[in-house]
Homo-oligomer: 660 residues x 2
């Protein structure tokens, strides 16, 4: 007996799948966030099919909730093992986590299973991870806790099941096991248990919970993870501990180590399994105490030393997917501490139409991209000029001469290929500009229809063109269609960012509510500085950013763009929703302004909206052919007449900051 060889076990080789880390990354980002509470997970082992193939322990994206109904084949060939995940928050925490304590905790779980007469599994695993989502690097360490016997086991016999001189016929037994695996019906019973007993006399497979009068009349069966010719797999350790706890009088046991060669199995299943499986006898010292067993099981690193393993997913991922994941990461991290309510799906789904792809449009688009907006459409009728690139952050010197809208859209795609960006070369029909020829009329009508279709197809309209009159028609159209309008405008060293009201819902003024004259041709007689939008460069960057921040706040209100003005700062980061933000670079200051809609407004008042709904094109054409049409329509003319009588002095047209 003393000369019988020691029983040695093949360890598991952890084989976490990329999908596990992807799922972990997603959960960390979306669910766990800063929590490092332990998570119940599950892994699988399969039967090794060749002595050279390690006994793989698989963990994949099903680890956090495996549904066997979605992969019935898997349930035939893999055996589930419960485990626990400790995902640490920092690399330091990962490195310094108390591994002894974790194994102690796992020992309790294992011992509980050993103490059960009907354990589902005796195997268990521990996984410690640190997910560096920034670099797509995952640090991890597995433990497969196994009870150490006080003194080693010894193997007194070891032979293929085909050669075993015992009842029942091994092939018939194998057939039973294979049948178990092939059963239809309740999918959870489709596989056979990791451990089972075989009645030697009857040749029947019994569950561990069966009453056994004489353990010597039973063969103890085990699904063996090993394919090594001389060694069983790791799960046998805890199984032996269970046998010894269950039948304390025994000092030896006959084992059936069920093995299989899955890739041959389809041909003659029982015979293959029978040839691969092992019948062995193992014995131990009767003096051993199995109380308070010691547990081992930390996996070594790939160098065979104590230490963590690492998976660098960045190298494996599709670059586009990587870009998406990385960009999402930065956004989702906002939810961890600062903005739990951040609705990134809503942001990603919001379709933004940017009228004007100049200084304001480019800055706005950049900020939309940063915030996770994914549908961005530009409208512009001009080409990139030499002076544009330094101020319009979607253009380069090499873009000079190209159409702005299309070039801006292409730039967005170069920055983030997954954005849905497009550009339309389109002259926005301008109120007050005479349609001087039939060609102009036709072109304008075409542009009118294109603009309307674009507004219909988007959720938010940003006004960022370089004239007042080009903002009138979009204001009217979007107002009538109850689209959200965010208007940004620049003065020399000031800026205005505002949202338009929604008629009948939110009584807030639009861009034209402060005007008492119709928009008219302001472009024809301009000096050079008026042609060039002379502004301090910082204004556009700040206004573009502020416009997008305002939109994000609005999207997070219960009624989105119909939200009332809220200036209460106690409601959290996205709770303040002003009407207008006016900023002044010369004093580094910003004020919030609120103004109701003007009932005689040339753009958003009821008469204008009604005229638009009745026949929008006719309204527009009338505005172009008569300078007083809108003033008459809205009643402004009458107001001005009475105001004139009182020496009314309300015009602010002398303001240099023509767009504010």
């Amino acid at each position: 007996m003393a000369t019988a060889p020691l029983l040695q076990f093949q360890t598991f080789t952890s084989s976490p799948h990329v999908s596990f880390f992807q799922k972990l990354a997603q959960l960390k980002l979306d669910t766990f966030q800063l929590s490092d509470a332990s998570q119940a997970i599950s892994g699988f082992f399969e039967l090794s099919t060749h002595a050279d193939v390690p006994a793989r322990f698989l963990v994949d994206d099903t680890a956090f909730g495996f549904d066997p109904s979605t992969s019935p084949d898997r349930a035939k060939h893999e055996w589930r093992v419960p485990g626990v995940l400790y995902n640490t928050n920092t690399l330091d925490a990962f490195k310094t986590i108390d591994k002894t304590a974790l194994l102690d905790a796992a020992r309790a779980t294992v011992c509980e299973a050993i103490a059960s007469d009907a354990p589902e599994t005796l195997q268990y695993f521990v996984l410690v991870t640190f997910a560096d989502l920034k670099s797509h690097t995952f640090w991890y360490r597995f433990a497969f806790p196994a009870v150490l016997p006080p003194s080693p086991y010894r193997v007194t016999s070891w032979a293929p099941a085909t050669s075993a001189a015992w009842q029942p016929q091994p092939v018939a037994l194998m057939q039973q096991l294979v049948d178990l695996r092939e059963m239809t019906g309740d999918i959870t019973t489709r596989n056979f248990p990791q451990h089972f007993m075989v009645d030697r006399a009857l040749g029947t497979v019994l569950p561990l919970s069966a009453t056994v009068a004489d353990p010597a009349a039973v063969v103890f069966g085990l699904v063996d993870s090993s394919a090594l010719p001389q060694h069983p797999g790791w799960p046998l350790r805890n199984y032996l501990a269970w046998i010894r706890r269950r039948f304390p009088a025994m000092t030896s046991v006959t084992l059936l180590l069920f093995r299989d060669a899955v890739h041959h199995w389809a041909t003659v299943p029982p015979m293959v399994a029978c040839k691969a499986s092992i019948v062995a006898t193992v014995e131990w010292s009767a003096d051993d105490s199995v109380n308070a067993p010691k547990v081992v099981g930390w996996e070594l690193n790939v160098q065979g030393k104590q230490g963590p393993r690492c998976m660098q997913l960045g190298n494996l991922m599709d670059p586009l997917q990587l870009a998406k994941t990385s960009v999402d990461l930065n956004l989702k991290l906002m939810r961890w501490r600062q903005l739990p309510s951040l609705d990134l799906d809503k942001i990603a789904a919001t379709k933004c139409l940017l009228l004007g792809a100049g200084t304001l449009g480019c800055h706005t688009a950049r900020n939309l991209l940063s915030w996770g907006f994914r549908h961005i459409t530009f409208v512009d009728n001009s080409k990139v000029s030499h002076s544009n690139p330094v101020r319009q952050p979607l253009f380069e010197f090499g873009d000079v001469g190209k159409p702005k809208a299309e070039t801006a859209a292409k730039a967005l795609k170069r920055i983030f290929p997954l954005v849905q960006a497009e550009g339309h070369l389109l002259s926005i029909p301008m109120a007050g500009h005479a349609m001087s020829s039939s060609q102009v009329l036709e072109d304008t009508m075409h542009a009118y229809q294109s603009l309307e279709a674009l507004i219909d197809g988007h959720d938010v309209i940003f006004l960022g063109t370089d004239s007042r009159e080009s903002r009138w028609l979009p204001t009217v159209m979007a107002g009538a269609k109850r689209k959200l309008v965010i208007n940004a405008a620049l003065g020399f060293d000031s800026y205005l960012v505002m949202r338009h009201g929604i008629p009948d819902v939110v009584d807030l003024g639009c861009y034209f509510c402060n005007d008492i004259v119709s928009p008219s041709d302001s472009l024809s007689d301009r000096t050079l500085d008026q042609m060039c939008t002379v502004t301090r460069p910082g204004g556009a960057a700040i206004a573009g950013a502020t416009a997008v921040e305002l939109l994000v706040c609005l999207l997070h209100q219960p009624v989105s763009h119909s939200a009332p003005v809220t200036l209460d700062t106690t409601g959290g980061a996205l709770s303040v929703v002003p009407h207008q933000i006016r900023g002044f670079l010369h004093s580094f200051s910003q004020v919030l302004v609120e103004g109701p809609a003007f009932p005689k407004c040339t753009a958003c008042s009821a008469p204008v909206r009604e005229a638009f709904v009745e026949d929008g094109w006719r309204l527009f054409a009338s505005v172009c052919s008569s300078k007083t049409y809108l003033q008459d329509l809205t009643g402004l003319s009458a107001l001005m007449a009475s105001a004139d009588a009182l020496s009314f002095d309300g015009s602010d047209d002398s303001d240099d900051d023509a767009l504010l």
Copy 2:
């Protein structure tokens, strides 16, 4: 007499040179600005050398102040004509300018010359322009005012000067004229006058001012712009008017039309001129009154119709030069109305060092470029990651994996090729990070030296790195060297932009003046969101813009970066110069904060500066090897000890916004 042919004149063909428009553009931008006051200018005509070559009237960059000493050759072959420029402010003004009134005004000038007995020139010209500097398009229209006789002149003889049957010998006369042209001495007299007389008997050249007893004894000489075989040039018109005013009894005159063939002239000058020149006799009706003469002279357009001509310079210019001109244009236009004191040369010469080429660095650089800064250097030690491009506006998806500093510099050059941008891959030595090996020590020392050299070579240091401790050494170095430091930092939805004080000059705090602990390693144990600088995207755009606006304000103070805090808004656009600007995205607000330097500051206090001046590297090494070194050095330790005794509760280290 009635059968003699009518005298017809070859008009001038205006030939404005590109350099004229370039000069005009520059003057408009820098000097005239919004003024449309008339400007005295001058043009030149030369002798046409061939009948097929039009009589060109040249206007070039010397138009606004010709210095004959700089081009003596020119003074030999071109005759100067005074003129007046009306440069309009708008295209509309150009189109609608009152051309009749302009010609009337010119008639007065011409008539004044005719009334003079010694006119320098009888020719004059009017130029109306509109310079669309945005598109580099120049609209222009010339007039060469000429007095119309009441009835036409008639030519009674017309022959080459060589065949003339009159005294003196024409060749001898030509020799006199050519000698006049070749004279050395006072350069202004080097050429002969446009008009002169020749004493028939003596063969001598006389000025117009000479006393003439018998005009019939005189030949009236004129430099003739025409090379047509049968027609004199335009200047003869006013000359005839002068002759008739001066000698009212005359009804006919003998003319010497001096012509030349410049390209042959070098060979046998007098003979060539003699062969080309014309002696002609012209007569007119004695009944004519020359009072209140009518004046004509607007040049037709290239189609031969009334209308303006146009020069599109954009097509001719070097694209790089175009970019420079266009970019300068936008900046210079600010001086027209808003910022007359704007010192763009100072801005262009200011060398900016950006520490950190991430979100803040990229935004800052973009704004520097917009403002006309032309020396921008980046320092960064990292590579572009997948999440960067959407937030860092100098990177694209295709840049992922490239070093940030160099990539950012290249992007700036793609935007504006004339910028002097460079990137340095450099890890800024970080206070409180242990130098754990000799390699680390060596690398850090090298980085220390590189950083110091970079700070020495720049005027302004922007701090935009992603940790507190990486800002310490640059703060110490720049403070000791009295460089201007602009610090920008982001919280989740807030931002800070500040300038550091200058020790002993401006008592303002630095970034570390609010700290009561030394900067230490904050990078090793960070959760994912701390690693990723989770911020609302708008903050960086606003902070970057604000940082540059602050710098521009400082550069326009009399003492630049030593300027005291000024919050008085009455001093104009660049007069407010705060210390700190703190902004809050959640409330769309901004406040100005001012704080003095802290005498125990770990970065800018006297003990630290003195230790740096004595041995900067030793100071840095000490800070890295001892966590309390700085606190001991500055006296913070003692302060904290006494504070502890009083249950001092001043630490704000729990702030999530670690960088604010």
